[in-house]
């Protein structure tokens, strides 16, 4: 592969990776944050304790996290087909990526929310806050700097998962590295992909780290 072709290919596959990771990150946060909130509010010392429900939720989340992504990817093929009409391609890959990342992010979000001082919840309740107001005006805003970092960790994990999307024809950087760099012995492609991935991850971590610091309110 000459340099121009390599760069063009790299850009195309990077676009696919960003598409898969970007969309699944949005869905992951939309589904995982409520799940994280639910994990913490239903806990024994939570806002509305439901210990049995909490145990069940915790169990399901742990099941989701204990399956290796490659297996989850294959297991979910029928589900993916039912949901998006096909199990092949990068759009289809978004389904297993999201399913894998939701429990992961939910646990991270739960930890972030747990770090909010219980006294702040007391203060809000003493002023007549409803449970929903405690969640939306205290827990999430106060945990935001930490939640932002949790999103960064999730994105980086999703980039790593997305390397396996090639299995279902999802394409992306990982797929490029496997098919050209490994199977066709094109070391240049492998090196270029690796360098690109390193820069991508560093960039994401730096961006979200900066964002988190900005949100830390003059600490």
């Amino acid at each position: 592969m000459d340099l121009n072709t390599l760069l063009a290919r790299l850009m195309k596959e990077a676009g696919l990776t960003l598409y898969m990771v970007g969309v699944s990150t949005v869905f992951t946060v939309l589904l995982g944050l409520p799940l994280g909130v639910w994990l913490i509010t239903s806990a024994r010392d939570g806002l509305s304790p439901r210990p049995v429900l909490n145990k069940i939720l915790g169990f399901i989340v742990n099941v989701g996290r204990s399956l290796p992504f490659i297996i989850l990817l294959l297991l979910l093929i029928p589900f993916t087909r039912a949901l998006v009409g096909t199990a092949i391609g990068s759009t289809a890959a978004i389904v297993p990526l999201t399913v894998a990342a939701v429990p992961f992010f939910a646990r991270l979000a739960e930890n972030s929310l747990r770090e909010v001082e219980p006294g702040l919840v007391d203060a809000a309740r003493s002023m007549g806050a409803s449970k929903w107001q405690v969640i939306s005006k205290v827990l999430i805003p106060e945990a935001l700097p930490s939640l932002v970092l949790a999103v960064a960790i999730t994105i980086i994990s999703l980039i790593s998962y997305s390397a396996m999307a090639g299995v279902v024809g999802g394409g992306g950087l990982g797929d490029l590295a496997v098919r050209y760099g490994y199977q066709r012995y094109e070391t240049g492609v492998m090196v270029a992909t690796v360098i690109f991935l390193i820069l991508l991850v560093q960039g994401i971590q730096a961006l979200f780290g900066w964002l988190s610091d900005r949100l830390k309110y003059h600490q």
Binding site: D122, A123, M127, G128, E142, Y217
Partner: protein, 326 residues
């Protein structure tokens, strides 16, 4: 203003013993009072104050605030009732994600007050707690005393009639503590605010409270107007203010006594008059005068001798002096 009836709260067992946080607590706090609940840590006073606005639910008993029984209220009405009670905390519990103005506006926002009215009220409150220049500062940029002032302003935003103070000065240095206590006293006078505070600091009770209760192991062991509590020589509060000293044995022919006097009688030249009117010999063995709740309370250990001693004792009691003969 506050009436609790037989509050019970248990937090399970430890070492086979019931961990009782509250045992049969019946408290009476009148309108306009500054009522201090004094007790060591673990005495249950924190649980008690959290039961007043039901942050903690008692296992049994009733909580009446301003004529309303709270434990039976549905959630929505309870939230409404809580807006009639402000609360301040030992660690201030300000929201780090909001600046001073936004923190103060928080309760108004929760209550659905519109932004214009909110802004106006916040300005009044900033003025009230002397923090107008810190409106845009974040909690982390404030000192402890300033944080507590924000806490007080925030608690008062919805015009509550009652302020609950959970060890509000315990994390502050002595100088700042005095500032915050003076502010509470002013608010009590200016706004007629009833204040229920819990503390382990005797000085807090002595400086601003007019009524007090003492808690031990989940029970209220005494409560009432401070002036009365102090005159009870066996009382916990009286002994905390005047730690019992070694009784000094009277010499032969002398009668030893402890005299406790309050308010005006602490200023009068009492002993001089005793000596003059009853030809009594009085010998002072020890004593101190302590400021309590804006009053001066004196306690003297004396020994006395003279033929008209009984008459003299009668004369002192008529003047409201507590006389305890040993």
């Amino acid at each position: 203003m506050i009436r609790t009836e037989h509050l019970q709260k248990s937090f399970g067992q430890q070492n086979g013993q019931d961990l009782h946080a509250l045992r049969d607590v019946s408290l009476r706090v009148g309108k306009g009072q500054i009522f201090g609940v004094l007790g060591e840590s673990g005495a249950g006073k924190s649980t008690l104050i959290r039961c007043i606005n039901l942050l903690e639910r008692p296992d049994s008993g009733e909580v009446w605030v301003d004529g309303q029984e709270l434990t039976g209220l549905p959630e929505a009405e309870l939230r409404q009732a809580r807006r009639q009670m402000g609360m301040i905390f030992q660690h201030f519990n300000l929201l780090n994600s909001r600046n001073v103005s936004e923190n103060i506006a928080f309760g108004l926002e929760l209550a659905g007050v519109d932004p214009d009215a909110r802004r106006k009220r916040v300005e009044e409150l900033l003025d009230l707690v002397h923090l107008s220049d810190k409106a845009k500062a974040y909690p982390r940029q404030l000192s402890g005393g300033q944080k507590q002032r924000v806490g007080i302003a925030r608690a008062l935003a919805t015009h509550p009639k009652l302020l609950l103070s959970d060890e509000a000065t315990s994390a502050l240095d002595p100088q700042t503590t005095l500032g915050v206590l003076d502010l509470l006293k002013d608010l009590n006078r200016q706004l007629g605010l009833t204040i229920l505070l819990i503390t382990h600091q005797m000085d807090v009770v002595r400086r601003i409270c007019d009524h007090a209760a003492v808690m031990r192991e989940g029970r209220v062991v005494e409560q009432g107007p401070i002036n009365e509590l102090i005159l009870n020589p066996d009382g916990v509060l009286a002994q905390a203010i005047f730690p019992p000293s070694e009784p000094i044995p009277a010499e032969a022919g002398w009668h030893s006594a402890t005299l406790t006097f309050l308010g005006d009688s602490a200023r009068e030249p009492l002993l001089a008059e005793l000596v003059r009117s009853f030809a009594l010999d009085v010998n002072i063995l020890g004593g101190s005068i302590q400021p309590v709740a804006g009053n001066r309370v004196g306690r003297l250990q004396v020994q006395m001798k003279g033929p008209r001693l009984t008459e003299a004792l009668q004369w002192m009691r008529e003047r409201g002096i507590q006389v305890e003969l040993h």
